[in-house]
């Protein structure tokens, strides 16, 4: 029994380490940790499910849901000013609610707001509203001259995420990392 438990927990540990190197969510979690990002509030998205579950399971992180994305932006902004780094997880439609808080808090106060946006609305979207709201995302980021990258490839994820987080912190500027369906598989119409 004990041996079996040990073996099974070894397998689990192995699975985890494989996850860390070979899955997009494993790489994101490890990159957050390496950059000492401890506070991760989110408004959930189907694509982010495994990442959110693994963040909750890891005692390094303080992670919790918020009612709105801008609330999460306020929380990580306050935490950063008081010495704790954070990042916000959201979906495309949630990002679309952020224009006011980006323009009146993150950008003018020079706060290194780090956002991971799971991209819906493209590459097989089945909801027209999601497709439309997706088209507002990059123009909004560009209109505020905000740094943003769309991550499509697993082999580029760590480089882009790690460098972008470091750049956000050192230049005190927000960044949006858009997780493309090419990276995550996205959400598909299944019924």
């Amino acid at each position: 029994m004990a041996a079996a438990e040990q073996a099974s927990s070894k397998d689990k540990a192995k699975d985890k380490s494989q996850d860390a190197a070979t899955t997009w969510h494993g790489i994101v979690l490890q990159t957050l940790k390496r950059n000492e990002i401890k506070l991760v509030p989110y408004v959930p998205d189907r694509v982010l499910t495994t990442l959110i579950k693994d963040l909750h399971a890891d005692p390094y992180f303080t992670t919790f849901p918020t009612a709105r994305e801008e609330e999460a932006v306020g929380i990580v902004s306050g935490a950063w000013m008081a010495g704790t780094r954070g990042a916000v997880l959201m979906q495309t439609s949630g990002f679309a609610t952020l224009a006011n808080v980006l323009a009146s808090l993150a950008v003018p106060y020079q706060i290194p707001l780090i956002m991971f946006v799971s991209e819906r609305g493209t590459l097989g979207e089945f909801n027209y509203g999601q497709a439309l709201v997706c088209r507002t995302m990059r123009p909004m980021l560009d209109s505020l001259a905000m740094e943003h990258h769309t991550i499509t490839r697993l082999d580029e994820l760590e480089f882009i995420a790690d460098r972008s987080i470091k750049q956000a912190v050192t230049t005190q500027a927000p960044v949006a990392l858009i997780l493309s369906p090419l990276l995550t598989g996205g959400k598909t119409f299944d019924k």
């Binding site: 008081a82 006011n100 808090l105």
Partner: protein
């Protein structure tokens, strides 16, 4: 807690209450919400532990929550208007769930958007904000009956087992001063006040 209860509380003044709060502070953080709330905080005497919002209406409590989570040993006060809080009522649930012991929230309730021309809020006369906070799970939520009661509730919040919300009915007076609108300087000084970095 009913609306009738709120109506039995004294109508006070934002600047007076802010002065009373600031007079008793040492190294506590204070987050001032958009508009008159942070104007009166500024006018009560600038201190590096104060953060002044120049936008992002409704985020005083979320910003304060972030500060409270980052520095659990420091008391964090957040001052917010009723109209602002109405924009972000969901944050009360988040705060109830995380339950930081070091967070004291004050809602300045005059039932109007004073700064835009004193139009009534949709909640005016019908919604009891303290009852909303209680129902959101913030057990230590109450109306301050008068100035002495306000000071007592502030003091009591410092040893409360969870977050505290204090509702105060205020008059329709505008803010007393005007915060210097320099976001980077505000942020930089606040980080200095929080001991996170040295000033240049």
């Amino acid at each position: 807690m009913t609306n009738a209860h709120a109506r039995n509380t004294k109508v006070m003044n934002r600047f007076d209450l802010t002065q009373r709060l600031v007079a008793g502070l040492k190294d506590e953080a204070v987050i001032g919400g958009i508009g008159n709330t942070n104007f009166d905080l500024w006018a009560a005497g600038h201190r590096p532990e104060n953060f002044y919002m120049l936008g992002s209406m409704g985020l005083a409590f979320p910003i304060a929550l972030g500060v409270a989570l980052a520095q659990p040993k420091r008391r964090v006060f957040a001052l917010e208007g009723d109209g602002s809080l109405l924009m972000q009522l969901g944050c009360l649930s988040t705060i109830a769930t995380l339950a930081p012991k070091n967070l004291t929230m004050v809602v300045m309730d005059n039932g109007i958007y004073q700064i835009t021309g004193s139009q009534p809020t949709p909640a005016a006369g019908h919604t009891d904000i303290v009852a909303v906070a209680l129902a959101s799970g913030i057990a230590s939520s109450s109306w301050a009956a008068d100035e002495d009661d306000f000071e007592r509730l502030i003091e009591q919040s410092k040893s409360a087992p969870g977050p505290t919300l204090i509702g105060v009915r205020i008059d329709d007076k505008p803010g007393t001063g005007t915060t210097r609108r320099d976001p980077v300087q505000i942020r930089e000084r606040f980080m200095h006040g929080m001991g996170v970095r040295q000033l240049l």
